[in-house]
Assembly symmetry: C2
Homo-oligomer: 258 residues x 2
DNA sequence: CAAATAGTGTCTTTTAGACATTATTAA
DNA sequence: TTAATAATGTCTAAAAGACACTATTTG
């Protein structure tokens, strides 16, 4: 077991942070037709959590989410979407903080009436990124940090399994109304690649003819005059996002219902 | 100016509540083809706020929202829908708490580093109710409490105007996918009545023939063998919600896109 | 019979969904 | 030439949207 850095940080730096409220980021990663989620394992238990952290008094909740996501992924400008907040007295049970435990570890005596023993409201965001862009997946404070397939999650702390499920629902609703893929695909990609991406996120297969028809109708991608040679079969054409249409879609919405 | 009850409560009861996080409820009321929102005016200023309150350590955020809504409306079993959380350092500016001010009023000396001078994250819910069902619209702690048309809001505190706009957007998305009206219409109502309700909430006019066609297709309302005599013109038939279909719609969704 | 509101049907366009064959590449 | 994958079009059914006349009531 590694150092219980969370507890230490709490005690030393707690004046910088808002109390009883925190941010959780569900970081989805797409890689080779699989949807994964970045989880970390705190010092306390054999259970896992989504990436999260505390909110500084000087920053907004969105800024906190962004800072925390950067700490975990090394990526700036991630599109973080708030999808809900979670809070109930049961949330505290798994936390692993007790006055005795903190004293053992840090030497500080904290009264059991302190706010750090009350439950935290989690303001939750999700984001999508290309798996391989993430360099430092390991937070300085956690024992371990790892990508897990959303379909095979390890035992989760608190209500974090529920939070991931809610994030996934929100994501699936979201991609019916807004373009995605810019951060997930190489600059030039093939129709089969973007097709697979949508299938993976939605968790179901999509008719290739109908998929192509609808996608091209939105004009958010445009065909290039190049192909990619990738095997003993017909070479697929390359496409790229039409930056302008894509940005417009982000603002005003684009129907891509499957 | 009335008693600054919020400040008093803060000081006296703050141990019961989570810190730096609170609930706000945007309570929409429908009455005579108008959509209104219940606002309260705290002691401090000539600005108004949506109804809100603090979260007890022993209750979930949903329970807090429900309790707070009951305090303001006297209604139980309101359908409260969480639509977002809001938090940034600017939120504190309007709050009207300063150490000096609290000392003047309550006699307590609170250090300026206390959490009560930091910003609060607002976990926000909206609900819809029939205007005239609300008896005690006045909270015990506020100077005044009043329904305002959503199109003519008074000067609002914090980011509460933004919160109301977000609530309205969420409501308009919501009614495209779930049945509403059960709490807003009399048990027996006419097609023109429910038609007006949808027009009011969506803020646009809807073709009567197409509206009726789609509504009846969902089977959530059924025609009765009675009419209501209301003037020197043809008497409209009465309808009522089909409880079973309605409940099912709440769970699984019902498309009513206009 | 006039004024007011309720009630209803048809046509057109658009969208969704099902479905199968031909084209290209390189071993 | 064959195995592998890419590319593409048509038909049908359902839904959305535009649009206007007839029915009933009572002063």
């Amino acid at each position: 077991m590694t150092i219980p850095a969370d507890a230490t940080r709490f005690v030393e730096y707690s004046d910088q942070f808002l109390k009883n409220v925190a941010v959780d980021n569900v970081i989805f990663g797409y890689h080779e037709k699989e949807l994964k989620v970045l989880l970390q394992q705190p010092y306390t238990l054999d259970k896992w959590t989504v990436t999260g952290g505390y909110i500084k008094k000087t920053e907004s909740i969105e800024q906190a989410a962004s800072r925390i996501a950067f700490d975990r992924t090394g990526l700036k400008d991630l599109y973080l979407k708030q999808f809900g907040s979670f809070g109930n007295p049961q949330r505290v049970i798994d936390k692993g903080f007790t006055p005795q435990r903190i004293k053992e570890i840090t030497g500080f005596e904290i009264p059991s009436t302190s706010w750090i023993f009350d439950y935290f409201v989690s303001v939750s965001f999700y984001t999508l990124t290309e798996f391989s862009k993430v360099e430092s997946t390991k937070g300085e404070l956690e024992a371990d940090s790892k990508w897990w397939p959303v379909s095979e999650l390890p035992p989760m702390m608190f209500d974090h399994e529920h939070i991931i499920n809610e994030a996934l629902s929100a994501l699936r609703v979201h991609i019916a109304h807004f373009p995605i893929g810019y951060e997930l695909l190489p600059e030039k990609f093939t129709l089969p690649e973007i097709h697979s991406l949508y299938e993976t996120i939605l968790g179901k297969s999509l008719d290739d003819r109908n998929f192509t028809k609808k996608l091209l109708l939105t004009k958010i991608v445009s065909k290039l005059d190049e192909t990619r040679k990738i095997g003993r079969h017909r070479s697929p054409f390359l496409y790229q996002f039409d930056k302008e249409k894509y940005e417009e879609g982000l603002k005003s919405g684009v129907a891509l219902v499957f």
